[in-house]
Symmetry: C2
């Protein structure tokens, strides 16, 4: 297998943490988004969507979506399970992974990509350029506040997002909460359960890679 990574971006960090929590060692190549290497002809030949992470599977398939990479690795390397074992557990992992992506990851990206001057003309990932929409950055900031409310509500009832142990949903949530620093957002002081959850995950070696 071969893993295309980028040490500075949240999406590949999700896959990198997942691989580490599985205890897998996969050959990797660093793609520098700062140097726009994702738009180079060499990388576009790997992934025409111009995004990282990318996993080339044992059979040579190209996976460009975090959920696809996680699903593949869970199937070929089931332990420890990170996508749940029972029907209810599996469903809760997908439930919370989806909520965190939509209610957290998307709004944070909306703020960053529509307000940062270095991302002018690059308001969306991918090979096509889109101009920034400042109102989308404003809307995103309101939504990030609602996201922290959602996390605290859940984590005051459950040790981890999908239940009593760490799963992919937590990796996704942890990476986005940590990345929120780029839009100067962080866990509110009124969110002790979220803080405890975040600190517990941060103590994992996979969080320092």
């Amino acid at each position: 297998m071969l893993f295309y990574d980028c040490s500075t971006a949240p999406s590949p960090r999700r896959a990198r943490m997942f691989i580490a929590e599985k205890g897998l060692k996969i050959e990797s190549r660093e793609i520098s988004l700062a140097e726009k290497e994702q738009l180079s002809p060499a990388f576009l030949a790997v992934n025409p969507r111009a995004t990282v992470p990318v996993l080339i599977t044992r059979s040579g398939a190209t996976l460009t979506e975090n959920l696809a990479i996680a699903t593949y690795l869970e199937a070929v390397s089931p332990n420890p399970p990170l996508l749940g074992e029972t029907a209810d557990e599996k469903a809760q992992v997908m439930q919370w992974n989806a909520l965190v992506e939509q209610q957290g990851g998307l709004p944070i990206a909306d703020v960053l990509r529509n307000s940062n001057k270095h991302m002018r003309g690059r308001a969306l990932t991918g090979p096509v350029n889109f101009e920034q929409i400042p109102e989308l950055a404003e809307r995103g900031r309101l939504r990030v506040g609602l996201f922290f409310d959602l996390l605290e509500q859940r984590l005051s009832q459950s040790a981890y997002l999908a239940g009593e142990r760490l799963t992919m949903a937590d990796i996704t949530g942890f990476v986005f909460v940590d990345f929120a620093r780029v839009i100067k957002a962080s866990i509110p002081d009124t969110s002790p359960a979220t803080r405890a959850w975040f600190d517990a995950i941060k103590a994992h070696p996979s969080a320092s890679l």
Copy 2:
């Protein structure tokens, strides 16, 4: 189990088709989005996120995300498999389901919810009101064109999105392509493979429910 449905909206249609392709019969209740029933106190007690579909599982858990509902039903009722069987098949289903949601479902929703006068102040689903952003509707329309390109490229190489048989990725894609009529978008004449794929799925009884 209990399924909260809405006959006019694309998200619950995805779950409805999935249930039908599984050959399952689940008691259902219609929630009228036209009458804003999703915002009623009775429904908010079921799903505080104010969205359909919702599946109440056998154990009483509340699932509000399509991928969670599909994952649960695949686990309790494995045949016919709609999320893949081998590691590579499972990964391709997640890969294409994610691409279709992000590159198709999201832009179509961006156009509709940010331009339709009936959705003023309701530019996002959920319990909180957000104003429309007209530039987001414009951006969405450009992206829908790119989505049709992506579909044709894939379907000219593969009978179904994730391989040689119908999976959840096709249900998602079919529902969004059909729903694009609300923004006056449809399969381009230059997309014969997408047309053949669409017509094949439309012939399934599950597509008429």
